[in-house]
């Protein structure tokens, strides 16, 4: 490669050349090449984002047969909402519930008059604290639609039962819903997730397997039919589909959501939540679909700092340990202050760790 000779023209350059010639050349990790080839050989790599036709508007409008990418976008959007909700509950506890929209409006007003302050956040991880106190996060959780979802009985029930299970189920193969969500969801975020899936065989295989779940298929079919009516006004037109394609192409090079899914798809509690019956009930609601269609939501899940925080290992560990559930119960029983739920998470995390240690002790 290198037929030229380097000659120093002055003492500074001579010093640099000596140093560069003596610098260590590293050997790549032994598993680098095998890891690459494993990813390329995995079924997930057939996801299609290396196929130029894959992201075309025509392709996405097709009513596909079996695990379409659009249906996966639906699921991933739901996943993002779930993570969002976890973050929300971790800080504020459960919102007060009430019948119908009155409770929601009241809750929204209450929230708008109260800013989250540092003292309200007692999670130990500073990165999470930073994210949860960010403007993006504040704007998102002050959104009435978001609050309507979080205040719903179904959603609370779902969130309280973060049991261990495999990943999501088969999405609705409904082109209308898929297109609506294409327009609603942040293009960069979706592209990042798809890019991640295309390179991570474990996550994609898990997702593929879960896509066969009849339960989730049923739930999302119902969601699709509602969406056709409720969110019809937000459907993509041809122009926005083209714009999305361009955005996807640009965004696929880089997205913080890769990190999110990297953590989330390996987190049993998180994926269990997505398969939870109550959660599936919750996602049938019009309000939930409205949330997905909200630009604020799209912006939030595209926010790097936000995603870095919620995909943090410590944060997911809290959910995995059952701490989230404990915090939710604590909040629902009347101790619903942000500080209380943060403390509950820490307490439950400690308890879970102690339980694990006990289990490991020889009897």
């Amino acid at each position: 490669m290198n037929e030229d000779r380097d000659e120093a023209l002055d003492p500074d350059e001579a010093r640099a050349l000596r140093a560069l010639r003596s610098a260590e050349r590293l050997e790549p990790p032994a598993d680098l090449a095998p890891s690459v080839m494993r990813q390329l050989s995995a079924p997930s790599n057939v996801l299609g984002d290396r196929n130029p036709e894959f992201w075309s508007p025509d392709r996405r409008r097709q009513s596909s047969g079996g695990g379409s990418m659009s249906s996966r976008k639906v699921l991933l959007g739901i996943a993002a909402v779930a993570v969002l909700a976890i973050g929300y509950f971790a800080v504020t506890g459960f919102p007060p519930t009430g019948p119908g929209s009155e409770g929601t409006v009241g809750a929204a007003k209450k929230y708008q008059s109260e800013q989250i302050s540092a003292k309200d956040v007692q999670l130990q991880n500073p990165e999470i604290q930073r994210v949860l106190q960010s403007d993006t996060f504040r704007k998102l959780v002050s959104n009435p639609e978001t609050r309507a979802i979080l205040a719903s009985k179904e959603f609370q029930k779902a969130m309280a039962a973060a049991e261990v299970q495999a990943l999501v189920g088969k999405a609705a193969e409904n082109a209308d819903l898929a297109e609506q969500l294409d327009g609603a969801m942040d293009a960069q975020a979706v592209a990042g997730l798809m890019s991640y899936l295309s390179r991570n065989s474990e996550a994609a295989t898990e997702l593929d397997a879960a896509l066969e779940s009849a339960a989730v298929e049923k739930a999302l079919d119902a969601a699709a039919s509602k969406a056709t009516d409720a969110a019809a006004g937000k459907a993509l037109d041809a122009a926005s589909a083209n714009a999305l394609d361009r955005a996807l192409d640009a965004a696929i090079k880089d997205s913080a959501l890769e990190k999110l899914l990297s953590e989330a798809t390996r987190d049993a509690a998180f994926v269990g939540l997505l398969k939870n019956e109550a959660f599936q009930e919750a996602i049938k609601s019009e309000a939930f679909l409205g949330l997905l269609a909200d630009p604020a939501f799209g912006k939030a899940i595209g926010d790097r700092a936000f995603l870095d925080g919620i995909s943090n290992g410590a944060f997911l560990e809290a959910a995995r340990s059952g701490a989230l559930e404990a915090a939710v119960e604590s909040a629902a029983s009347g101790a619903a202050a942000g500080a209380a739920s943060g403390a509950a998470i820490e307490k439950a995390t400690d308890a879970a760790q102690g339980k694990a240690t006990d289990a490991a002790e020889p009897k």
């Binding site: 350059e13 590293l26 390179r199």
Partner: protein, 180 residues
């Protein structure tokens, strides 16, 4: 012999759906890409992730590769982009510059102690991205001036002048006084 096949032939086979044809390309370039990523980022784990991600991404985007250019130049740009993305994702409190040798250490001593502190790497990380990149391409990717020019999209004489200036700046950072 597959390993001896030119890059273009291997790329063509990949595009016909032969995934295994990518393996010789990985074997051929993984070392130089990993070293380049390490010298750009200063972290071995990050370098591994970047090299791996870039290789996978290169395969996925192979259809967009223009065979009029060298395969390495193309994949190297992917590594650089991945490295920049990695840097931008770093936490604000994450130090970019590695520790330099302690006060009073002369450059010769510092170079002798590079196994412990790798002051070359620390000095590289003090350079601008442009300076660092041209040095990495020349001294760690071991490209010719013409190849660097192709990779960076500049004329060969521009490469020479950039390299000279970048090495001067690196040399000044490596002065004993700068290391104190």
């Amino acid at each position: 012999m597959v390993d001896g096949d030119p890059d273009e032939a291997l790329v063509a086979r990949c595009l016909r759906g032969e995934v295994e044809a990518f393996e010789p390309l990985v074997a051929r370039y993984q070392r130089v890409l990993y070293n380049a990523a390490y010298r750009l980022l200063g972290d071995r784990e990050d370098a591994r992730d970047v090299a791996q991600g870039a290789l996978v991404k290169a395969y996925e985007k192979l259809a967009s590769f223009d065979p009029r250019y060298r395969f390495f130049s193309w994949i190297y740009r992917i590594v650089v982009n991945e490295a920049l993305n990695t840097r931008s994702r770093r936490r604000p409190d994450s130090p970019l510059v590695a520790d330099l040798p302690g006060s009073g250490a002369g450059v010769e001593d510092a170079l002798a102690a590079r196994e412990r502190k790798d002051c070359v790497q620390a000095a590289l990380l003090r350079l601008s991205s442009d300076d660092r990149e041209v040095i990495v391409l020349r001294h760690f990717a071991e490209l010719s001036y013409a190849e660097i020019g192709e990779t960076l999209g500049v004329a060969e004489k521009t490469v020479k002048s950039r390299l000279h200036e970048a090495r001067q700046r690196l040399g000044r950072i490596l002065e004993p006084e700068s290391l104190q």
